[in-house]
């Protein structure tokens, strides 16, 4: 039975719960569900930092960390120990309480987002009726944490960074939500579990992932762009902008608090990637029906790792945008496209299934895309230039 | 219900859509904006023709209602209807509007805000058409307000010109005064009839059930409800249709571009008031059980109309501005329409409205053409002899003038005016309106002849007559590139003139007493039979004579010997300078308003301010200081003379003084505090009230 490896964690949990008196059943159940998340994702963070450094190194023709342990595998551990043992410097004029609370709040908010993430079949912590909304609501708390960090440090650079970060997050929250609306329109539910289950069916061997529809594909791209911005990753890493404002809002943090910020950022990235997987990439469902024997949670994490690699890849390639360009990009390209995508998704719903629908929708998406990019390019007067030569 | 009824809403929707789109267009995309407006108007016109055909086949009101808003157990419904009144108006407005749109492309060619202009124009037309099709007083009111807003925008289109801006403001505020009455009437109507729909298969406000209920209920002064409400609504109509005493905005509105004047004064905005009265005519004319005389409401309408008609005509005699003459003539003619409504019912009034719409649009567009040709000159004293330079304009303008003057038998104006005079003659209440109207007709013919003589005959008196020196730099003239010579306008402007001129002739024959098709169509019976009523021929003859007399007098005074210079005073001015001045200043009504209402308002505001600032505050302060001072003296005495017992009373008085001073703090939080305290009081009251 292929179900057993798939549900191994669920079975394990129930088995463990059997040893717990019924009076504390609820609490034990919660702990048993939360604890793995609290362990797995920081672990993933550790792996990702290593992966990122390794990957970036390889992209840049370097080796990356390879000193600590075999192939540098203990590097995250070493980093952790280092950050723990470093002196925790708090600026003299800083607002100590807020300065302390900011990284904590950031990490807590990031963790909260995992509550609605179905990491496997029957493996969502809670099946909220408004799960997607919950995700975005929690995401908005991050802004507050960032502000707290930037403000409490009493540093001009950190203030600049915080202002940038908040402006960017607020601006990109709109396209993020709008890009995911198409999925909600199609699935007719805000529950993440429902959304995944709608996608986990197959025609032949192919799944019904939303990314395989024209609007879904566009939505996915837009969502990922907005998610990159939302999690302050390159090329939208202006709030950190190490070459401009040095490190942005956490410039005055050191030691473990700094590590917490890092953790929070990466957790946020995992969470947005996770929600992107849930919304567009079929969550824990296998990409082909013949592959369902591989456990669902494995698929989820595989997809997550793939997306993380994408993030790393993009980071290794692109220069950073400027603040006004970032904003313009959100308002002039992503937002109109997301709105238009909603229209297409509506159209999709009312057209008969078939190849015609697919092509019509794809065409309808491509046209504004071309028009918009041509318009934008013309407006910005960006060009490859010719140069004259003096002999 | 024929299919067209369902789609009648498209007729206003199309221009509005065009307006919406062109509002989003960039300022430089002139052609698309104009094209959109014209195409939408043409489409509306086509639809209006369909609607007209539908109304021909079924003259009873056809409605399409839907519920719009639900609060509690009440439903507010909106809807539109199609009846002969609507159909006629639709055709007229779309057609005249279309012509004016086309004309505007030529007239406004060089204006930098061309796109914006067409956006406004289309919105205006949409609003007007909305007024026409509305089957709900509420919807009508909404569109009415759109019309008001766009008229404000259009009159003040050249807002850089302070006079235009002031005129726009004036128009807006004046009509708002009337609309206040309208609004009250509307609310009252809703309170009484529980619906604002006109026709709703028996439950509508204009249908027998509600009307008879309203007609038998009386309010103060023995006024029936229907009359009272009707009169309140009539206030709105007065504002919009420029009836005395709310006419003041109309002549000033000439500061707008000429196509706007044509649109406002000929076809749409001013007609809206008349149309409104025609629409609610069942309400206005609703009788109680016993009475046979016209209702109070209709009497008021008639009297107001008569006064306006005479007033406008007299003032028009003494104007110099070519557009101002036409404006006052519009005021006068609107008075006629009101008389017509009051004495003869909607058919009579509406007939004049329709014919007037055509020939007044013709006249305005002709005037525009003249102004255009003279590079923005508007003073008729500086024109003259233009018939040589712009023959087509002269021809069409002449036709318009004849129509307005009521030249016997051939032109439409004669027939519609004649119908009014006839009805007025037979009015049971008084003969006076008839005589006033007749005098007005005489004057109309007179001043129109005067104007034509000034403009087209004689010698050219354009100043400089070479390179035009602009005497009024901030008037329209700077916006037109005119050559030195007066010149004929382009075809895009003269073609509408010609079309309108044709209709100025032709329309009259729809409503002659011999074949009163129009009246019967509006009244809803198909028997197109001439009613040979007594005195018809006599009135016809009288009105012919009046018109001819007027024309003759005008020619006698102005046409016989040509006016040589522009400085030469008017013939009438020479004879009666005082009277002429009074007339020229329109009986000083503006001045009077300025001296009375405006100043009064200012004074009141100032007084209130002063009162608040010095009197109340002062009183409070004085009391407080007084009390404090007293208290201080008291305490002084107290401390040393009297015993300690007064202490408490002093303190409380002092506190009272402070509290009263604090009342006038001018601080947000203080007011918030009072609100809080009021809340406490309210809750306490409610609790105790409930408990009892």
């Amino acid at each position: 039975m292929t179900q057993t490896p798939d549900q191994v964690f669920v079975i394990l949990k129930h088995w463990l719960l059997g040893y717990v008196p019924t009076s504390v059943h609820a609490i034990a159940s919660a702990v048993l569900s939360i604890l793995p998340l609290m362990v797995v994702f920081p672990l993933l963070f550790a792996i990702t930092t290593l992966l990122e450094r390794k990957g970036l190194g390889r992209i840049q023709n370097r080796l990356g960390p390879n000193r600590t342990g075999p192939m540098g595998l203990w590097q995250p551990l070493a980093d952790g120990i280092k950050s723990l043992t470093k002196e925790d410097i708090v600026p003299f004029t800083a607002d100590h309480i807020v300065h302390f609370l900011a990284p904590v709040l950031l990490v807590v908010a990031a963790f909260l987002a995992y509550a609605v993430l179905p990491v496997g079949r029957n493996m969502a912590l809670v099946n909220l009726n408004a799960g997607v909304l919950f995700f975005f609501a929690v995401g908005s708390v991050v802004e507050l944490a960032v502000f707290m960090a930037g403000w409490s440090s009493r540093s001009k650079y950190s203030m600049l960074g915080a202002m940038r970060a908040i402006a960017q997050m607020i601006s990109y929250e709109v396209p993020l939500v709008l890009a995911s609306v198409v999925v909600i329109m199609q699935a007719g539910s805000l529950s993440t579990v429902d959304i995944v289950e709608r996608q986990a069916t197959y025609t032949g061997i192919f799944p019904h992932w939303y990314v395989f529809t024209p609007w879904g594909f566009l939505g996915f791209i837009l969502f990922m762009i907005a998610a990159t911005a939302e999690s302050n990753r390159s090329p939208f890493d202006l709030p950190e902008g190490e070459s401009e404002i040095i490190a942005g809002y956490y410039i005055e943090y050191s030691g473990f608090k700094f590590a917490l910020f890092f953790l929070g950022e990466y957790l946020g990235m995992f969470a947005t990637s996770g929600i992107a997987i849930t919304l567009f990439l079929g969550g824990w469902s296998a990409p082909l029906s013949v592959l369902t024997f591989i456990p669902s949670w494995a698929w989820f994490f595989l997809k997550l790792l793939t997306l993380i690699c994408m993030f790393i890849w993009v980071r290794g390639t692109l220069p950073r945008l400027r603040m006004d360009q970032l904003m313009n990009f959100a308002w002039e390209f992503i937002l109109p496209m997301a709105l238009f995508n909603m229209v297409i998704a509506g159209l999709w719903r009312f057209m008969n299934p078939g190849a015609v629908r697919w092509f019509v929708c794809a065409f309808l998406i491509l046209v504004p895309m071309f028009v918009l990019s041509a318009l934008l390019k013309r407006k910005k007067k960006l060009q490859l230039r010719t140069y004259s030569f003096a002999e | 219900m024929t299919w067209i009824v369902r789609y009648v809403c498209l007729i206003p929707a199309l221009p509005m859509l065009a307006a919406g789109i062109s509002a989003l267009l960039p300022q430089r995309s002139r052609k698309p904006a104009a094209g959109l407006a014209i195409v939408s108007m043409a489409a509306s016109f086509a639809l209006a023709l369909c609607a007209f055909a539908a109304a021909l086949s079924n003259p009873s009101p056809q409605v399409f209602n839907f519920s719009w808003l639900q609060f509690g157990d009440q439903t507010l419904a909106l809807g539109w209807l199609l009846d002969p009144l609507t159909a006629v108006m639709l055709v007229m407005v779309t057609f005249v509007g279309l012509l004016i749109f086309i004309y505007s492309t030529g007239y406004m060619e060089h204006d930098e805000n061309f796109t914006r202009f067409f956006c406004f124009l289309a919105l205006f037309a949409g609003g007007m058409l909305g007024v026409i099709i509305a089957n709900s007083l509420l919807l009508l009111f909404m569109c009415w307000e759109i019309v008001g807003l766009t008229s404000y925008l259009l009159i003040g289109f050249w807002y850089q010109n302070p006079r235009a801006a002031a005129a726009a403001k004036k128009a807006f505020i004046t009509t708002r005064i009337g609309d206040l009455g309208f609004l009250i009437g509307m609310v009252w109507l809703y309170a009484q009839a529980h619906t604002l729909l006109f026709y709703d298969s028996g439950r509508g406000a204009l249908e027998s059930g509600a009307v008879s209920h309203l007609a038998v209920t009386t309010t103060i002064y023995g006024l029936t409800l229907s009359s009272a409400i009707g009169l309140l609504i009539f206030c709105g109509a007065m504002g919009k249709s420029g009836q005395v005493p709310l006419h003041v905005w109309l002549p000033d509105a000439m500061e707008g571009p000429t196509p706007v004047s044509a649109l406002i004064h000929a076809a749409t905005m001013v007609a809206a008031g008349v149309f409104l009265i025609a629409r609610i005519y069942p309400l206005m004319s609703a009788h109680g059980v016993e009475v046979v005389t016209p209702t109070i409401a209709l009497q008021v309408v008639t009297w107001v109309g008569a006064i306006t008609a005479l007033f406008g005509a007299t003032v028009a005699v003494a104007q110099w501005d070519i557009k101002r003459i036409l404006a006052y003539s519009t005021v006068s003619q609107l008075g006629y329409m009101m008389i017509g409504l009051g004495v003869g019912g909607p058919a009579v009034g509406m007939f004049h409205l329709i014919t007037h719409a055509f020939f007044k649009a013709l006249l305005f567009l002709g005037a525009g053409s003249v102004i255009h040709g003279c590079s923005g000159e508007q003073d008729i004293r500086r024109m003259g002899g233009l018939r040589k330079y712009m023959p087509l304009t002269f021809l069409t303008y002449g036709i318009g003038m004849l129509a307005l003057s009521g030249f016997p038998l051939v032109v439409s104006g004669f027939w519609s005016k004649d119908a009014i005079l006839y009805s007025a003659h037979h009015w049971s209440v008084s003969q006076l309106p008839f005589y006033m109207a007749s005098l007005g007709a005489l004057l109309t013919a007179f001043y129109m002849t005067r104007q034509v003589c000034y403009v087209f005959f004689g010698t050219l008196r354009l100043p400089g007559h070479g390179p035009v020196s602009h005497s009024e730099p901030d008037s329209e003239d700077t916006r037109h590139h005119g050559a030195g010579h007066p010149h004929e306008s382009p075809a895009v402007m003269t073609a509408p003139l010609a079309i309108l001129a044709f209709f100025a002739f032709a329309l009259g024959f729809l409503g002659t007493p011999l074949w009163p098709w129009f009246q019967s169509f509006l009244n809803g019976d198909h028997s197109v039979a001439a009613e040979h009523e007594p005195g018809l021929v006599a009135t016809m003859a009288a009105s012919s004579v009046i018109a001819l007399l007027g024309i003759f007098l005008g020619w006698l005074l102005y046409g016989r010997q040509s006016i040589a210079t522009c400085e030469a005073p008017d013939v009438l001015e020479r004879a009666q300078p005082q009277t002429f001045r009074v007339l020229h200043q329109a009986y000083f009504i503006d001045a009077i308003y300025d001296a009375t209402f405006v100043r009064l308002t200012r004074w009141t505001a100032k007084l209130a301010d002063l009162l608040d600032r010095f009197l109340f505050h002062g009183i409070v302060q004085a009391i407080s200081f007084g009390v404090l001072g007293l208290a201080w003296v008291d305490s002084f005495v107290d401390n040393y003379v009297v015993n300690f017992g007064f202490d408490s009373s002093w303190r409380s008085i002092s506190m009272g003084g402070r509290a009263m001073a604090a009342l006038q703090g001018g601080r947000v939080q203080a007011y918030l505090r009072y609100i809080g305290l009021a809340l406490v009081a309210l809750v306490l009251y409610l609790l105790w009230g409930v408990a009892r």
Partner: protein, 402 residues
């Protein structure tokens, strides 16, 4: 908190400065403790800042993120170079010139050697001239590659282009090391020639490198040249008008990006540059993108020069035997030697009083002079633009501060 709020006039800095004259510099009274609410924020970028190329410092007054005033502050690396040189023998100054623009020491040597050779009327053997051209152009290659990497790094490209550039630079440095014994502080040229001849096999290695180099250029081009983000960040940013470039004595790629056809290799045709066919790329916009692309194209041209030089290099002596390095005493007089260094016109002005040490020694550092227009380029731009503009100016603090 000593100063109360002072009314500040809004500077009219939104439009680019009018041609030919520097932008109006507003007098902005800024207190050092200005908070965000006080409209203007003064931040100090540098001397410890990741993108100021060493210990440069800019006191930037910001309105939001817009720069309304920028005061360059330098001198953190001041070493009294010119004064030291007046106590040092002519030969002893040579290693010091390495430290001016430490990225390209050989061209510094060259300029100094040129000045001394002019002073002493020294002939240079032909082979030495060829070696000078080869090493000089190699220096240009690695400097430009490096600069483009730095520029992109400053614009946040997380080091990838920089690493690619450094990969190539390493190869050049390897060549330098095997020739001169040092990777950066080469101290290679001498008056009247070079210090040592090319070691065996060096030229083959250099040729192999040169054959590979265009591949790097192509890779770089694919990576970033038509990248939209790069274009957005650089095009029409920091526009330096031709007139301002002339009136501010801007030289080098920066001037050529503004359309100024001024290349000393052509204008002076010093050394043996007249023998090589190469072109001088010229920009039209004078913005950061043009500066970037001009350097990119110059690398292509340098490759051409190198190919020709390596093909034509003759055998022969590398040092004018008449010149004594140690006890060199030129006749009294003055000389100005200038070359087209990768950064611009690098000149040395020497006055000799007949003794063994220069009487006056003066450097015309292109970095410093190109930096003088920084505020004009940055006013009204964003913080991020300041970084990009500074990167495109191509400064090395060793040369700026001396």
């Amino acid at each position: 908190m000593t100063t109360a709020w002072a009314p500040i006039t809004e500077p009219n800095a939104t439009e680019t400065p009018s041609l030919g004259q520097p932008a109006p510099r507003p007098a902005v009274p800024v207190t050092s403790d200005s908070a965000l609410a006080e409209q203007y924020l003064e931040i100090s970028m540098g001397p410890q800042h990741p993108s100021t190329h060493g210990v440069f410092r800019m006191n930037v007054v910001l309105d939001g993120e817009r720069v309304i005033q920028l005061k360059p502050v330098f001198g953190y690396l001041h070493r009294n170079h010119e004064k030291i040189a007046e106590t040092e023998s002519y030969l002893g100054n040579m290693p010091y010139t390495d430290r001016l623009d430490y990225i390209c020491s050989i061209t510094n040597n060259w300029a100094y050697a040129l000045a001394v050779e002019k002073l002493g009327g020294i002939e240079v053997p032909e082979r030495a001239e060829y070696i000078r051209v080869i090493t000089g152009e190699l220096t240009r290659l690695q400097n430009h590659a490096c600069l483009l990497g730095f520029l992109l790094q400053d614009m946040g490209a997380s080091g990838t282009p920089l690493m690619y550039a450094f990969r190539e630079r390493e190869k050049v440095l390897d060549l330098f090391e095997s020739l001169t014994g040092a990777r950066m502080m080469c101290n290679y040229l001498r008056f009247g020639g070079c210090r040592v001849d090319l070691p065996a096999g060096w030229l083959d290695r250099a040729k192999a490198f040169l054959a590979e180099f265009p591949r790097f250029l192509d890779e770089f081009e694919r990576l970033l040249v038509d990248n939209e983000i790069l274009m957005e960040r650089t095009q029409n940013v920091g526009v330096l008008s031709r007139e301002l470039a002339v009136s501010s004595a801007i030289s080098g790629p920066m001037a050529r990006a503004s359309g100024l056809n001024y290349d000393i290799r052509k204008a002076d045709a010093y050394s043996i540059y007249s023998r090589f066919s190469f072109r001088v790329p010229l920009g039209h916009h004078g913005d950061v993108y043009d500066r970037y692309m001009i350097r990119f194209l110059e690398m292509h041209e340098s490759v051409k020069i190198l190919e020709q030089a390596m093909r034509d290099i003759p055998a022969g002596p590398i040092q004018n035997p008449a010149v004594k390095a140690r006890l060199f005493r030129p006749k009294p007089g003055e000389a100005y030697g200038r070359i087209e260094s990768p950064k611009g016109e690098l000149g040395f002005y020497l006055i000799s009083d007949g003794s063994g040490i220069p009487y006056r020694y003066r450097v015309r550092p292109p970095s410093l002079i190109n930096l003088t227009v920084l505020e004009d380029l940055c006013l009204g731009r964003n913080v991020a633009d300041v970084i990009a503009i500074l990167g495109s100016v191509d400064i090395v603090m060793g040369e700026v501060d001396r």
